[in-house]
């Protein structure tokens, strides 16, 4: 019996990265008050970056693709727009796993911040291209700021929640 419970517990913990991102994406679309909404909209990318850096073995690239597609479908926007952002973040962070393992948390936070800022500009760039004029950048800037500030909070919380053997930084 202990074996079964152990396996269930292990499976639950192993699926935490994907399940947490999935639930957060669904929560993002709930009709929250504007301030909470602003925070929540910044979170999926932060969470994805954290899991790719921290547990790339549990959060495979295909999950970045599928969760990005889900986001696009629910948002009613161009299919693939968020998926592209998630995939770029995934590929860049995954390719730097060695860096995160060897360097401090601060260095990891800085690297994640650059990636978050970069991929957050993809939807803005595409919207500007499609509309033929430069779209306002400040909402994207605010979202990047939220994401960067929330990263250490999310990372600190999730590292406690995920006691499976650690990889990454």
């Amino acid at each position: 019996m202990d074996g079964i419970f152990y396996r269930i517990d292990h499976a639950a913990r192993a699926s935490l990265p994907v399940i947490s991102c999935f639930i957060l994406i669904l929560l993002t679309f709930a009709p929250w008050p504007p301030l909470i909404k602003s925070f929540l909209q910044a979170l999926p990318l932060v969470l994805l970056c954290f899991w790719v850096m921290h547990r790339p073995d549990l959060f495979k690239t295909h999950w970045s693709f599928l969760l990005g597609l889900l986001y696009d479908m629910l948002a009613g926007q161009v299919i693939g727009l968020t998926a592209l952002s998630f995939l770029v973040a995934d590929v860049v962070l995954r390719s730097q796993r060695g860096f995160f393992r060897n360097y401090s948390f601060l260095a990891g936070w800085m690297a994640a911040s650059f990636v978050i800022a970069g991929v957050s500009l993809i939807p803005w760039a595409m919207a500007s291209t499609f509309s033929g004029e430069l779209r306002e950048l400040s909402p994207t800037g605010i979202r990047i700021a939220f994401s960067v500030l929330l990263f250490p909070v999310i990372a600190g919380t999730l590292q406690r929640l995920s006691p499976l053997p650690r990889e990454g930084f």
């Binding site: 679309f29 709930a30 009709p31 790339p56 970045s64 299919i79 998926a83 590929v91 919207a127 509309s131």
Partner: protein
């Protein structure tokens, strides 16, 4: 000096990522080449997640009400007094409106005027919203099974808030007035100036192609003009907020940031037999009591 290991964990992993990126780019192209198929695909996926979104929307809706409830309690007496005054004023207006309606009907009968009747009218609840700089839409719990059709007009208590753009079996998506892709033929009522209402994301919507913007003044009402064949004429849209050079900014009547229940109406323009009363379809969710 320590060195990072910029290599991907395996060649196959990198190849898989490349395949996903190429697939994503193809999907983006697909959305632009086949917008209708993309909309059907989105509606199908939203249908699948409607029960979950419905559950997740409940705590969010409760949270939306908390600040209002606390404020209401604090200003209950004051609000009650204001409401009494408003009711007295509205009774006078109701009598006037009743007289005008009768007179209007008599004149229409005399002129054999073809009416634009409301065929389908239902109230439904918002379960998901996507409000941002680039896209603004909400998902509601009524779909094709409830009689929702594409291009239905979406209204809240105050006026037009958007139109239905995607319909699934259990859900539908409403494109909000603030979306960058939203276009609506309107008229500035007092100035009799036509224009195209365009969403601007987080900024105030604009009126484009107004022939004589100088005649438009701040505070004038903007209503649908009836051109385009989707919306009937005279639906309230907003008030002129600012007129600067050739730009006319509009403040929408609809409270796009706090949508909980919306009404969907299908106006069959030009249909002379369509005169059935509102609520001909039973509401999916009861509207909140005033």
């Amino acid at each position: 000096m320590r060195r990072s290991a910029p290599r991907h964990s395996s060649g196959t992993g990198f190849a898989a990522a490349l395949i996903f990126i190429v697939t994503t780019l193809l999907l983006i192209v697909f959305t632009f080449l086949f917008p209708q198929s993309a909309a059907t695909l989105r509606a199908g996926v939203v249908d699948l997640f409607t029960p979950v979104l419905d559950v997740f929307s409940k705590p969010a809706a409760m949270l939306q009400e908390i600040p209002g409830s606390v404020g209401d309690l604090a200003h209950l007496r004051e609000e009650n007094e204001d409401l009494r005054k408003e009711v007295t004023g509205l009774k006078i207006w109701a009598q006037t409106a009743h007289q005008m309606q009768e007179e209007n009907q008599r004149l229409k009968d005399l002129l054999k005027y073809k009416d634009e009747g409301v065929l389908n009218f239902l109230t439904t609840r918002v379960i998901a919203e996507n409000t941002g700089s680039f896209s603004n839409s909400v998902i509601v719990t009524a779909g094709a099974r409830d009689g929702v059709e594409k291009d239905m007009v979406a209204l809240d208590d105050n006026g037009v808030i958007g139109r239905v753009i995607e319909v699934g079996t259990w859900s539908a998506r409403i494109l909000l007035l603030s979306d960058l892709n939203f276009r609506l033929p309107v008229m500035v009522e007092e100035a009799r100036q036509r224009g195209i209402f365009t969403g601007q994301g987080r900024d105030d919507p604009k009126l484009l192609y107004v022939s004589q913007p100088a005649e438009v003044k701040v505070g004038m009402r903007v209503v649908t003009s009836g051109h385009g064949g989707i919306f009937p004429a005279g639906l309230p849209v907003g008030l002129v907020k600012e007129v600067k050079d050739h730009d006319v900014m509009v403040s929408p009547f609809g409270r796009l940031d706090r949508l909980e229940f919306v009404r969907l109406a299908h106006y069959h323009l030009g249909d002379t037999t369509a005169t059935s009363p509102p609520e001909s379809i039973s509401p999916v969710a009861p509207a909140k009591a005033p």
